[in-house]
C-alpha cells in the first residue's frame, strides 16, 4: 500500500487533503502521514524502514526548509521516492524549477480530486 507523506505548514490543508481523498482512503488504496514542516518529513523518510511505497506531496512556501529544498534533499538521498510539488502560485518559474529539480508533478491549489487520483 502506498504511503503519502503530505507536507504543508497550514494544518487546514491537511484536513482538506484528507477530505478530498476520503473515499480512496476508505478503499484502502493508501495511507497518509501529515507534516507541518519539511524537516519533519525528511526525518520521517530517514527513519523509514522501507522507502518503496513512499510518495511525497509538498507545499513550496514554508518557513525554514521550503518545498524545493526538501525536493533536492530527497532526490539526493532517496532518488527512488517520487516527489510532487504543490503551490498556490501558478508560476512558470516554479514549474520549471520543480521539473529541473526532479519533481514528478507540479500541482496548484485548490487541489483537484481528479488530478490527485490520476497521480496515485
Amino acid at each position: 500500500m502506498k504511503k503519502i507523506l503530505f507536507v504543508d505548514d497550514e494544518e487546514g490543508m491537511h484536513q482538506i487533503f484528507r477530505m478530498l481523498l476520503k473515499r480512496e482512503a476508505r478503499e484502502g488504496l493508501f495511507s497518509v502521514e501529515y507534516f507541518t514542516s519539511a524537516s519533519q518529513c525528511l526525518a520521517y523518510a530517514e527513519g523509514s524502514s522501507s522507502l518503496e511505497d513512499l510518495v511525497i506531496l509538498t507545499d513550496i512556501s514554508m518557513p525554514g526548509m521550503d518545498g524545493f529544498e526538501l525536493l533536492e534533499r530527497i532526490r539526493e538521498k532517496f532518488p527512488q521516492v517520487p516527489v510532487v510539488v504543490i503551490s498556490a502560485h501558478e508560476s512558470d518559474v516554479y514549474l520549471e524549477k520543480a521539473k529541473r529539480l526532479g519533481a514528478i508533478a507540479y500541482l496548484t491549489k485548490p487541489l483537484e480530486i481528479a488530478e490527485l487520483k490520476k497521480l496515485l
Binding site: 505548514d9 484536513q15 482538506i16 477530505m19 476520503k22 512556501s61 514554508m62
Partner: protein, 386 residues
C-alpha cells in the same frame, strides 16, 4: 676756429694748404697761442673740412638711424609687450571661461544625475501609488464575494451545530455499522470544512480590511495629535505586546528635540509608527534567535526639527534587510515573513500614509548590523492624493 688750453683746431671747408686764408689763419693762431700761453708748448692742428664733413654726415646719418631704429625698437617693444599683455589677458580669459564651462558642465552632470534619481523615485512612487490604488480596487471587488462565502459558511456552521446532530442521530439508526461510521465521518467533515471556510474567510477579510482601512479613513476629518506622544504611544503598545510574547531585555535610546514637541500629526500616524516599531522588534527578535544571549538589542528613536521638516528616525540593530529585499519592501503584499505573521501590507501602508501627508519615507539598512527607517514630514501640512 677753436682756441682752448693752448690747443687750436682749425677746420676749413677746403683741402689743407690750398688757401691763403688758411695759411694766415694758422699763423694767427700760432701767434695768438704764443701770446696767451707762452710757457707751455702750443700746438695748432688743422683738419681737412671736406673729409670731416663726410664723416660727420655719415656719423649723423648713423646716429639718426640708430635713434630711429631705437625709436622703432622701443615702439615694437611697447607693441610687443602690449600684445603679450593682451595675449595674457586673452589666455586668462580663455582659461577662466574654460574653467567656468568645466564648472557648468559638472553642475549640469550633477543636475542630470539628480533628475535621474528623482525620475527613478517618481517612477517608483507612481508604481507604488498605482499598486496601492490597484490593490484597494481589487480588495473592494473581492470583498463582496468573500462576504457571501463567509455568510454562507456561517449558516452552514449554525446548521451543523444546531440542527444536524438531531438528524444524524435519527438517520444513523437505520444504517449498518460500517455505513454509519462513514456517515458520521462525512457529517463531521461538513463541520470541519465549514470551520475551515469560516476561519480562512475571516483571515482573508482581515487582510482586506487592513488594506481598505487606509483608503476608507482618508477624506474623513481626522484629529491632529502630538507627534512625540503618538510615537511614544505606538512604542509602548508594540513594546508591551512583544515583551508579553518574547520576553527579552532591550535598550531604548530616545532623542527628541524641543522644537519637535510642538509638531502635530494626523492621528492615523499611530499606525505608521506601530508598524515601523513592529518591524524593528521583529528584526531584533530574529537576530536574538540567531545570535543568542551575547546580542544586546538596541532601539534608537530620534525626532528632530529641521527647516521646513520634522524627521523621525527609528533604528534597530536587528537582522537588517538585504539589498534585493529592500528594493521591494514598500510594495503591497511583499513579505518575507512566514504565513500568518505578515500580510505584506505594513510598509506599503506606511509609505501611502506618509506620502499622502506630503512626507517621505526611506529605509537604509546594513544586513546583520542595523536598519533605520527615516520618515520626513513637512511642517506645513499638505494633502496629496494617493
Amino acid at each position: 676756429m677753436a682756441l682752448a688750453a693752448g690747443y687750436c683746431f682749425i677746420v676749413t671747408m677746403q683741402p689743407l694748404g690750398s688757401s691763403d686764408l688758411f695759411i694766415r689763419l694758422r699763423t694767427a693762431a700760432v701767434n695768438a697761442l704764443d701770446l696767451t700761453t707762452p710757457s707751455s708748448g702750443s700746438s695748432v692742428s688743422a683738419f681737412d673740412g671736406s673729409s670731416l664733413l663726410v664723416t660727420g654726415v655719415t656719423l649723423g646719418y648713423m646716429l639718426v638711424l640708430i635713434v630711429l631704429s631705437w625709436i622703432h625698437y622701443d615702439q615694437r617693444r611697447a607693441a610687443e609687450s602690449e600684445f603679450q599683455q593682451h595675449r595674457r589677458q586673452l589666455e586668462g580669459l580663455i582659461s577662466q571661461r574654460a574653467e567656468e564651462l568645466q564648472k557648468k558642465n559638472e553642475e549640469l552632470e550633477k543636475k542630470i544625475a539628480e533628475i535621474r534619481t528623482l525620475q527613478d523615485s517618481v517612477v517608483a512612487q507612481k508604481k507604488l501609488a498605482s499598486l496601492g490604488k490597484l490593490s484597494a480596487g481589487i480588495a473592494h471587488e473581492i470583498k463582496n464575494p468573500l462576504n457571501m462565502i463567509n455568510n454562507s459558511a456561517k449558516t452552514i456552521i449554525d446548521f451543523v451545530n444546531e440542527s444536524m446532530p438531531g438528524y444524524v442521530e435519527r438517520v444513523s439508526k437505520y444504517l449498518e455499522r460500517q455505513e454509519k461510521e462513514y456517515f458520521l465521518e462525512d457529517m463531521n467533515d461538513i463541520k470541519v470544512a465549514s470551520e475551515i471556510i469560516v476561519a480562512n474567510g475571516a483571515r482573508a477579510n482581515s487582510i482586506i480590511n487592513n488594506m481598505l482601512s487606509q483608503v476608507a479613513r482618508r477624506g474623513v476629518q481626522a484629529r491632529q495629535v502630538g507627534l512625540v506622544s503618538q510615537v511614544d504611544e505606538s512604542l509602548s503598545i508594540v513594546y508591551h505586546t512583544m515583551r508579553a510574547l518574547n520576553p527579552f531585555s532591550l535598550e531604548i535610546q530616545k532623542e527628541y528635540d524641543a522644537e519637535s514637541r510642538s509638531f502635530n500629526v494626523h492621528e492615523d500616524f499611530g499606525r505608521v509608527f506601530t508598524n515601523v516599531f513592529e518591524n524593528a522588534f521583529y528584526a531584533m527578535k530574529e537576530k536574538r534567535r540567531q545570535v543568542g544571549d551575547p546580542y544586546q538589542p538596541v532601539l534608537k528613536i530620534k525626532i528632530q526639527s529641521v527647516p521646513d521638516k520634522v524627521l523621525v528616525l527609528i533604528g534597530d540593530n536587528g537582522i537588517g534587510i538585504p539589498k534585493d529585499v529592500l528594493e521591494n519592501v514598500m510594495e503591497p503584499f511583499f513579505t518575507t515573513k512566514p504565513p500568518g505573521e505578515g500580510t505584506g501590507l505594513g510598509l506599503s501602508m506606511v509609505h501611502d500614509l506618509v506620502t499622502a501627508n506630503g512626507g517621505d519615507v526611506d529605509i537604509v539598512s546594513e544586513p546583520g548590523v542595523e536598519t533605520t527607517v527615516r520618515i520626513q514630514l513637512p511642517k506645513r501640512p499638505q494633502e496629496r492624493s494617493v
